[in-house]
Amino acid sequence: MALLLEVKDLVTKFYTVDGVVNAINGVSFNLNEGETLAIVGESGSGKSVSMLSLLGLIRTPPGRVEGGEALFHSPQGIRNLLKLTSKELDDVRGGQIGFVFQDAQMSLNPILKVGDQITETLIQHLKLSKDQARARAIELLTEVGIPDPELRFGNYPFEFSGGMRQRVMIAIAIACNPQIVIADEPTTALDVTIQAQMVTLFKRLRDKLGIAIIWITHDLGVVAGIAERVLVFYGGRIVESAQVDDLYEHPAHPYTYGLLQALPRLDSKESRRLVSIEGTPPDLLIPLRNCPFAWRCKHVFERCWKEIPQLYPVGEKHLTACFYDLEKGVVRND
């Protein structure tokens, strides 16, 4: 599997009236071709902001991407996304990298026909003629499973159900044969049956078109269904990175462990209470000097208050940012 995207030490800050919000504090990860990478974490953990930062979608001011690089191995060679001009970024966005947002209800312009919203992307990026774009748009609508695509092409968004709108958003995202689709909580606003349909659709498109998917979510249940690898975000940092099965079976970070404890399990025989993680997320206004999870951690000890833990390898393709070895129940010595 060839490397597609290398993000190194991404730092994003928001300069607000209340102070500087340290939204992303040095995030590094890789994405391979055709891989599905899930990013999980609670609200404000920086999972969305990090993706928006990559594509220059952070509103400036107040936000600013202050450091790092994002090397995108595109057909035009390796390009640092953070250094592109806004015109070059326009070509990457929707062209090589598609985006699907959480709120499909609001993500389509209510007074433009659905078909026209698909064709405008095609015309801009692929320089298709109007008729070609129309034909391709109908093809795309079929691809994402919308019945009667010819008729639906001329509909307005209000004539679509929530799930169908999300399908249209997916059609727009994959319209120009992108290498990466970033899906920002694409199933959160949908009910469970539609969620399952979306996951199936994404899987089918991934296998058919070979698109790499970055799936942002806070739902670990959905992650198990689609992802190969998972990044766990906490306080604007990656605290754990693992293959999906490995993560569920051997969580190495107390936060990940806590998240899994908070999930109901269908396979356990005895009934048990769901455990919530005590405390609140870290205040990102305060610059980080120690482990961001120290305040809520059961295994916290002296070192956690003095240093920021870096990512340790704890297994094959398994990294965690914790000084405590959860499996053995001892402090790591390095």
Partner: protein
């Protein structure tokens, strides 16, 4: 069809691409379903017809004086005659013909005044709203200043400096009314610019030109049309007001405002001198309000469904 079960409201005409002719017939089908819209359109057509074909439907030259027959009552009165159905004014001019010709001034001022105000206001509002920040402050400060002035007083002041002519009246209304459009457009642009669909268009690679012209501008049509109809009827009112104060078109031009001004002196004894131009103003403004309301609903696909 499977899709129909999902959206039972969808109109088969809405779901297919249509040439212009079909669209037009569709608009008329929508119009037929809406009583107030059709009444408004009919009333507005009457006024428009009067303005366009004034020479053919008037019975007298509106400037022809006949002093021996001055201040004749309307035909309903025993002293009236059908040769002057609305009666005559103090110089013996036929009131019916003058009311008919008056529609020309009112509609011209209303239409071109609003056209200028809306275009100017849209450009100003778009720039202020889209670019925001310091540009917004620089543009909106004088706009808010103008809006804080008492409107009629402001217009009277400019009109008395510029003097009486049709072009002046149109320009005065067009320019002084543009801040109203500018402010509404700016507000809409601010709202749309932050919307999720603009954000998702940007994330699909849309450049600012496309954001502006294909996402923001079409969303402005509804609010602008609504505002334009209200502003147009307001402008017709204000034009009549200016005419009443002797500041609108020259006194020789038959206009409803001028007729009100002339009739005021004789209101106690010859009320019809003011009644007929007054009714004409009311009729026109009502027509536009009814029609404009319908037009706005038709232009907004979201409301189109609700309206059915």
């Amino acid at each position: 069809m499977a899709s129909n079960s999902l959206t039972p409201q969808s109109d088969s005409l809405l779901t297919v691409q249509h040439p212009f002719k079909d669209k037009l017939s569709y608009l008329f089908r929508l119009l037929r379903r809406d009583k107030s819209g059709i009444i408004g359109l009919a009333m507005f057509t009457v006024v428009l017809f009067a303005a366009v074909f004034a020479p053919y439907i008037s019975t007298w030259d509106p400037l022809d004086q006949e002093l021996s027959a001055s201040r004749m009552p309307p035909a309903s009165n025993v002293a009236g005659s059908w040769s002057h159905p609305f009666g005559t004014d103090s110089l013996g001019r036929d009131l019916y013909s003058r009311v008919v010709y008056g529609a020309r001034v009112s509609l011209t001022v209303g239409f071109f005044g609003v056209l200028i105000a809306a275009s100017l206001g849209m450009v100003i509002g778009l720039i202020a709203g889209y670019f925001g920040g310091r540009i917004d402050t620089i543009i909106m400060t004088p706009i808010n200043l103008i809006l804080s002035l008492p409107y009629l007083l402001f217009v009277v002041f400019i009109a008395s400096i510029l003097g009486r002519s049709l072009i002046n009246v149109i320009l005065i209304f067009g320019i002084t009314d543009s801040p109203v459009f500018a402010r509404v457009v700016r507000g809409e642009v601010l709202r749309i610019r932050e919307s999720a669909y603009v954000e998702s268009a940007i994330s699909a690679g849309a450049r600012w030109v496309r954001i502006l012209f294909s996402h923001i501008m079409p969303n402005l049509i509804g609010p602008i049309i609504t505002l334009a109809t209200f502003e147009m009827s307001a402008m017709i009112f204000y034009e009549a007001g200016l005419g009443f104060l002797g500041l609108s078109v020259p006194p020789t031009t038959p206009s409803w405002g001028n007729m009100l001004a002339e009739g005021r002196k004789y209101l106690a004894n010859y009320p019809w001198l003011m009644t007929f131009p007054g009714l004409a103003i009311m009729f026109t403004s009502m027509a536009m309000n009814l029609f404009g309301d319908w037009l706005r609903d038709v232009l907004d696909p979201r409301l189109r469904r609700a309206r059915k």
